[in-house]
Amino acid sequence: MSAALGLSALLLAATPAPAIEALADQLRDALVAARPEPPVAVAVQGTSAALSESVGTVLAARLSGAGVPAFVLAPGPDAAARARGQGARTLVDLQVRVDGELAAAGELRSVWRNFWAGRTPVETGPARVVSAAAPADAATRLLASAGSSGTGLVLDPAPLARFPFRTAALASGDLDGDGRPELAVLVGEEVVVLDPAGQPLARAPLGELLPASAPVREPFGTLCITNGQLLVAWARAESGLVLQLRGNQLVRTGTGIGPTLGCGDSAEPVTFVPSVARLLRVRGQERDVLWGGDARGGNRLLLLPDGTARWLTPGGGARVLGQVGAGAALVSWGGEMRVAASGSSVGRGEDVLRLLGPGTQEATLAVPGRILQVQPTADLGGSPALVLGIWTAERGSELRVVRGTR
C-alpha cells in the first residue's frame, strides 16, 4: 500500500495523468451541477490503491477549487457512516477501472440524517448517478496495474495429462474420501478419473449409453463432483449418469442426470440444446443460450455465444465481461470471488487466460492451444490452482495447471 501511495505521489508530483485530470474535470462538472451540500467526502474504489488514491485526490482538489469543500475517504461498505463521522454532508462513491479507457461511475448522495425521522435511518436529499470516461494513457495504466503484480499466474511447464481426443468437461473434487481432490475428465467416449499427479485412477466408458436423438459434434457436457459422487452429463447421450469411485472402478449408481451450471449446493440445472454445443438456461421468461457457465457462492457466470459473459453477483448486480471464450469459471482467489476466463479469439496456436477481479482485469497468461475448460481445484500443492482443459492441434487435448504467484 505504501509503495503504491509512493508511486502515485511520485507520478502526481511530476505531472498529473491527463486522463485522470480529464476524468476529474468531467466528474466535477456533473457533481457541481447536482449542488451537493458541503462538505463532500470522495470515496473511490479502483482496481489498484494507487489509481483510487489518484482519482480521489484530484477529484477532491477539483471540487474544492470549484467552491465545494471536499476530502478523500477510504472506500468501503461503511463509507457513508465514516463520512458522516468525519462531518461530511454528502458522499461521492465511485468505481474506477481501466478497460481501453479510464471509466468511472458511481453515485452522489446525502449522508445527513434527519434527527426527527427516529431510529429508522431514512436517506433524504439529492441522490444522483454520475459517470465519466476518458481515453486511458500510459500513466493511468501504470497506476491501474500498480500493486497487482502479486496476483500473477504461472503455467506449469509440463501438461498434467494428454489425451488423443478433445476434452468435453472437467471437474475437481474428492471422490475417494481421502480429503484430496481428484480430477474427472470427460474425453472421447469415456470419463477418466485422475489423481492430482495426473495418473489415471479409473475409467468409465460411455459409448454404450443410449445415443442422444440429436447428438452434438463438438465434445460437450458437464461434470460435477459432489458428496463423493461424480455426475456425468454428456451431450452425445440421451441422459447422464451418476458414478462412484470404488477402488479403481467407477461404478454406476444412478442415471437420469442432466447438465448443470456449477456444482454442489449452488448448481443450477440447465438443458442441452439439441445438435449444438450449447446449454439452455430458463429463468421465468428469460431464456439464455450459453456456451457454458458456473455457479459458486451465490455468484452466476453465464458465457454467451457472442464472446461476452454475464457475471451475476449475490447482491443482484450484473457485470458484462468482454472477450470471454468458451472456458471460464468462478474462482475464490485470494479471498475474493473472481472469474478465470479464456480468450475469445481463435485461429492462432495460443489462447489467453485472464483472471478478472471485482474491478478490472488483474492478470493474464498466454497458454498454447485453445482453452475450453477452466476448473478451480482445492489444492494441487498449496497455492491456488486452476486446471485447464486445452484443445491442441490434431484433435487432441491436454490438461495443464495454472498457479497463482501470490
Binding site: 459434434r217 479469439s345 485461429g347
Partner: protein, 449 residues
C-alpha cells in the same frame, strides 16, 4: 449501495467495453460450405479418386476413419475381433438419406454391388471366407452386426474396412449415411441425425467449375475448398495407376521397358502431386523409387488399350503410350470407357491392355492384395495373402509385403506407372480440417470464423 444502484453502476461501467468478439473459440454454427470441383472430380460420383472420395465422404460416410497413424476410429460401426474373424457392429441411429436405417442387410447389399464394380473392394474383402456367399446371406437377414469370417489370418482387415470403396451405400451409390442430405444434384443440407452430430455449416453447395474459375472462387472466398487442383507434399500419395495386360500382350509391354520414362510421364502428362512408381508398391509404402533401364527393343503387331475416359491423366498417358509403342512398331488402339464399364469389360475379357487407377490402403500388405486383384490370379493372391497374414507383427508384415512386391514385380501382368496424391486447396480460414490415413481431407468438423 442498494441493489438497484449497484446494477446501474455496473451497467454504466460495462458500457465502455469493446463490442462482441468477432472470433469464436467454439465452432461457429451456420453458413453454407462451398466446394468448387473440377469437372473430372464431379464426374467421379462413386468416389474412386481421392478427390471424388472427399466429396462423396460428405454425402456417404465410411464405416470408420483411419487416422494419420493408421488406427481405425469408429464412425458408423465398431469393429470387433472374434475367434474366426471380425464383426462389423453397426452404430444405432445411422440412417440413410432416404430414411432407411443402416443394418447388416443394407451394408451387405452395398458390398455385393461394390464387389461387382470395384477391384479395391474385391481385394479388401478377399481374405473373407467366401465373401459373396457371406454377403448374400447377410443381405437377406436382418440385425445390426455383420460377421466376416476369415479365410486365413488377416490382421489388417479392420484398417482396410475404413476404405472409401467399402462405404455403406444403397441405390447404386446414390443413397448414403451422410453428414449432408442431398437436395438436388448440387446442394445438400446438414443432417441432424448423423451419429457424430450435425456438421457445423447448415448446407453444402457443390459448384462444377473450370480450373481458372475454381481458383478464382477460392481466392474470392466464394468457395472454401477446391478439389482437383493444388498439392500438399505432406500427404501420402496412394492413388496408384497400373498398366495391366493379358498374357498374350506381354511382348507388347516388354517393348515399353526401355522406352517408358516414368518421371517424364509424370512431369509432362500427369502433373503434381504425383510421382513415378517403378515398383508395385508406391514410395509412400516403401516401394522402390527407381529401377534400372534397359535398351529399347522393337516389335510389331497391334493391341487395344482401355482407359477411363473421365480421367484427364489417364487419357494423356494412354496417348503417350500409344506414341511410345508406335515408335516400337506396335499399333495401339485406344478404347475409352466409363469407370464402371472399364472394370466390367476388362473382366469380361475385352482389350489387351488397360490403365487401372486404385486408391491403395496405407498398409503394404492390403496394398499388395489390391495389386494381386488387378493381376487377376485368384489362386496366387490367396497363397500370397495367407502367407502375409500369418505374420502377426505389423512391421514385419509390412516389410514382408514389400519384399513380396519386389519378388512378384516381374511375374505379374501389372506394370506400375505412377502414383498421385490428393489435389486440393483450402481456404486458410477453415478450422479443424484434418487428413486421414489415405491422405484424404476429412471435412466433417470443418468450420470458419
Amino acid at each position: 449501495m442498494s441493489v438497484q444502484r449497484a446494477s446501474l453502476v455496473l451497467l454504466a461501467l460495462s458500457a465502455g467495453l469493446p463490442g462482441p468478439a468477432t472470433a469464436w473459440p467454439r465452432a461457429r454454427i451456420g453458413g453454407t460450405f462451398r466446394l468448387a470441383l473440377l469437372p473430372e472430380v464431379r464426374a467421379d460420383r462413386s468416389g474412386d479418386t481421392p478427390e471424388g472420395a472427399v466429396v462423396r465422404g460428405l454425402l456417404a460416410a465410411p464405416l470408420c476413419r483411419l487416422d494419420a497413424a493408421g488406427r481405425p476410429e469408429p464412425l458408423l460401426a465398431r469393429l470387433q475381433r472374434t475367434s474366426d474373424g471380425v464383426t462389423v457392429a453397426l452404430r444405432p441411429g445411422a440412417v440413410f438419406a432416404s430414411g432407411a436405417a443402416l443394418g447388416a442387410a443394407e451394408l451387405a447389399q452395398g458390398w455385393v454391388e461394390a464387389l461387382d464394380r470395384s477391384p479395391v473392394a474385391r481385394a479388401l474383402l478377399s481374405p473373407v471366407r467366401t465373401p459373396s456367399a457371406v454377403l448374400e446371406h447377410a443381405s437377406r437377414s436382418g440385425g445390426t452386426s455383420l460377421p466376416l469370417p476369415l479365410l486365413h489370418p488377416w490382421p489388417d482387415l479392420e484398417a482396410t474396412l475404413c476404405h472409401p470403396a467399402l462405404t455403406p451405400v444403397r441405390a447404386g451409390g446414390a443413397d448414403g449415411v451422410g453428414l449432408y442430405v442431398p437436395e438436388g444434384s448440387d446442394r445438400a443440407r446438414a443432417s441432424t441425425a448423423f451419429p457424430e452430430g450435425r456438421p457445423f455449416p447448415d448446407a453444402l453447395a457443390l459448384a462444377t467449375l473450370s480450373r481458372r474459375a475454381a481458383q478464382r472462387a477460392l481466392e474470392g472466398r466464394t468457395a472454401q475448398v477446391l478439389l482437383g487442383d493444388g498439392t500438399d507434399a505432406a500427404a501420402p500419395a496412394l492413388f496408384a495407376t497400373y498398366l495391366v495386360h493379358r498374357a498374350a500382350a506381354r511382348p507388347v509391354v516388354a517393348l515399353l521397358d526401355g522406352r517408358l520414362d516414368r518421371a517424364a510421364l509424370v512431369r509432362s502428362f500427369v502433373g503434381g502431386p504425383a510421382a513415378a512408381m517403378p515398383g508395385l508398391l508406391p514410395p509412400a509404402l516403401g516401394g522402390p523409387e527407381a529401377t534400372p533401364r534397359t535398351a529399347p527393343g522393337r516389335g510389331s503387331g497391334s493391341a487395344v488399350l482401355m482407359y477411363a475416359q473421365d480421367r484427364p491423366g489417364q487419357r494423356a498417358v494412354a496417348e503417350r503410350l500409344q506414341i511410345l509403342l508406335r515408335d516400337a512398331g506396335v499399333q495401339l488402339t485406344l478404347a475409352p470407357r466409363g469407370a464402371d464399364a472399364l472394370d466390367r469389360d476388362w473382366r469380361a475379357g475385352q482389350g489387351d491392355l488397360a490403365l487401372r487407377s486404385v486408391l491403395l490402403p496405407p498398409l503394404p500388405a492390403p496394398a499388395l492384395a489390391v495389386v494381386l486383384e488387378l493381376a487377376g490370379d485368384a489362386e496366387l493372391a490367396r497363397r500370397e495373402l495367407a502367407a502375409l497374414g500369418a505374420v502377426p507383427d505389423a512391421e514385419a508384415r509390412a516389410s514382408r509385403a514389400r519384399e513380396r512386391a519386389l519378388g512378384l514385380a516381374s511375374a505379374l501382368p501389372v506394370v506400375p506407372l505412377y502414383v498421385e496424391g490428393l489435389r486440393a486447396r483450402l481456404d486458410p480460414a477453415l478450422v479443424d480440417v484434418r487428413r486421414d490415413g489415405f491422405g484424404l481431407l476429412v471435412l466433417d468438423d470443418a468450420w470458419w470464423p
